[in-house]
């Protein structure tokens, strides 16, 4: 679990990009796009640059007429239901909804796109991927066969090739006879290979890409959330995720309640107390926290002068205690921190509290125990005591 809590966005990026999928690693998002596009837009941006897109689109359009027949009939979702949920997924996949002039059509597209997303777990359409995913996709395509439900035309990005529109439209119209939706201009830039027996128009391909993205993220979430491995199916997975998030939030509440019961209220010694914790968990880099502490702690100390002064006598007592404990415990690690903390008296407080913390180390399970720092530590402790005497 420790390893999982690594630096936020990088960790998520690594999770997403570790799977052999489309490049989701780009987390920065495209500034020009809607916020909804997020990192999805990035991968599409990549595809935009493909020079071969035009010819591929032409090829796709030729197929679209045949392929779409099966897809159109499976649009069993009533539009009102979609409309209700449209707000949720209104951010069209690649966030072009804002800029596209045919916004009405786009809304319909978004609705249709929602349907396949919702039913993704149930009737999995044979997904089509960009060239990287050939193997797994081929398998999945074969298993699902021609099970093409709700092939919703995907709403791609703002910049598109207008030439594709007319071609795709004509191809889609016959197939979508059952759908109340009018033809939507395909603005798809996703370069996905069309599989045998699949709808190959750009919408469905982009839709499959999107679905693949979602399923990939669901897999990552499955690894994150404990106990999700046995669960199969989108709804159950989401259920587990929600439960997990809620339980974590409840834990936070409980722990904050626990912290609130602390009496007396003194959070000044926390850096020292936790130094051992952090050091244990993550190595010497923990000392950086406390150097930051000292640099940032100018204002709190001025604010809580009263607290500090009331605390200082305690610090003195404990500090005097600690020297024999130092010797007994031989905490070289703390000695390192003592020297790293610098010498100005502004750091005195931290070092005091750090010294105070040493008995707590007894209870902690410290793996390291080095002898060489002990003498330095005790000397330092005595120096501390001397300082304390002088100042107070």
């Amino acid at each position: 679990m420790e390893s999982r809590a690594a630096g936020g966005g990088d960790y998520i990026a690594s999770l997403l990009s570790s799977a052999p999928r489309l490049d989701f690693g780009v987390l920065g998002g495209v500034p020009g796009m809607d916020g909804a596009a997020g990192d999805g837009g990035d991968s599409l941006e990549k595809f935009c640059g493909d020079p071969g897109f035009a010819e591929r689109a032409a090829r796709l359009s030729s197929f679209s007429g045949q392929r779409f027949a099966g897809a159109g009939g499976l649009f069993g979702l009533p539009p009102p239901a979609l409309a209700a949920s449209n707000g949720d997924f209104g951010g069209s996949r690649e966030a072009s909804s804002v800029s596209d002039p045919a916004s009405a059509m786009r809304d319909a597209n978004a609705k249709k796109r929602k349907a396949p997303a919702a039913a993704k777990g149930k009737g999995k359409e044979p997904p089509c991927q960009a060239g990287e995913q050939n193997d797994s996709d081929a398998k999945r395509c074969k298993t699902d066969g021609g099970d093409k439900r709700e092939e919703s035309p995907v709403k791609p990005k703002a910049e598109q090739a207008g030439s594709d529109v007319s071609v795709e439209d004509s191809g889609q119209k016959p197939g979508k006879g059952k759908n109340a939706k009018p033809v939507e201009p395909p603005k798809d830039y996703v370069h996905v290979r069309a599989r045998r027996g699949q709808a190959t128009d750009s919408h469905s391909l982009a839709e499959r890409v999107r679905r693949e993205r979602i399923s990939q993220r669901m897999k990552v979430l499955q690894d994150l959330v404990p106990g999700c491995n046995k669960v199969i199916g989108k709804a159950l997975m989401l259920d587990e995720i929600i439960n997990y998030v809620q339980s974590l939030q409840r834990q936070v509440e409980f722990l904050s309640m626990k912290l609130a019961t602390v009496n007396p209220v003194d959070f000044s010694n926390l850096p020292a107390l936790l130094q051992k914790d952090m050091f244990q968990a993550c190595g010497p880099s923990a000392s950086s926290v406390f150097s930051l502490e000292s640099s940032n702690s100018g204002f709190p100390f001025s604010d809580q002068g009263d607290v500090f002064q009331s605390f200082v006598p305690n610090g003195m007592e404990n500090q005097c205690n600690l020297n024999p404990l130092d010797l007994a415990l031989s905490q070289a690690t703390s000695a390192q921190y003592a020297f790293q903390d610098g010498t100005p008296s502004s750091n005195l407080q931290q070092r005091n509290f750090w010294e105070e913390d040493l008995p707590s180390v007894f209870q902690m399970d410290n793996g390291q125990s080095q002898e060489n720092g002990v003498s330095a530590q005790s000397f330092h402790g005595q120096l501390q005591a001397g300082h304390m005497k002088m100042e107070f």
């Binding site: 960790y11 997020g38 994150l224 939030q249 309640m257 609130a260 107390l273």
Partner: protein
């Protein structure tokens, strides 16, 4: 781990800022104090996370607009109620699907409805995810939030343990004997 350190630092700073007025802090009820601590923890987590996701901004916005921590609690309880209601409906929907089970289309519709409800419930649980994103980014936000929430829980647990340990030390009896000995030596040092 860097995030945890950053979170810890922010947490300590914000807690100190809040408890600067020690008298006022002690005068607050336990609930209020808990809320204050939780708000500090959330703000610390959000600021430590930075700008890579949507939920930190939502947390900070919520913390900024509300002068007290009351609304946060209310909001979270409201979210819980909503989620519970959603789950109740889901369960009903699930049983109905099992009973009906006739046409494949209806079960698919029910399943789709379930997924949609759960997606909405997930949006409510994750801060800042309300009806702004499509499903893929919602899942990504959830991922991000889960990771950092876990780190926050871990940091809070360590902090509470450390504080408890220190308070135990302060109250415990065994240092007294050592203290007496040390006092002699320190006085001699002078």
């Amino acid at each position: 781990m860097a995030f945890k350190q950053e979170l810890l630092k922010n947490l300590i700073l914000s807690l100190r800022a809040r408890t600067a007025d020690a008298c006022r802090f002690s005068a607050m009820s336990l609930q209020e104090r808990k809320r204050a601590v939780k708000a500090s923890a959330d703000v610390a987590m959000a600021t430590a996370r930075g700008g890579g996701a949507r939920w930190p901004k939502a947390i900070l916005a919520a913390a900024g607009t509300t002068s007290s921590n009351q609304s946060c609690k209310v909001r979270s309880s409201r979210c819980r109620r909503v989620v519970r209601r959603c789950f109740r409906e889901k369960r009903r929907g699930g049983s109905a699907a099992a009973l009906a089970g006739s046409a494949a289309a209806s079960s698919v519709d029910v399943a789709r409805r379930l997924v949609r409800k759960r997606t909405m419930a997930l949006r409510k649980v994750i801060p800042g995810a309300d009806a702004v994103m499509d499903e893929a980014s919602l899942l990504r936000e959830a991922m991000d939030y889960v990771v950092h929430l876990r780190a926050q829980v871990d940091v809070l647990r360590r902090v509470s343990e450390a504080v408890q340990r220190s308070s135990l030390l302060r109250d415990s009896v065994w240092p007294q004997s050592a203290l007496r000995g040390k006092e002699d030596s320190s006085s001699m040092r002078q």
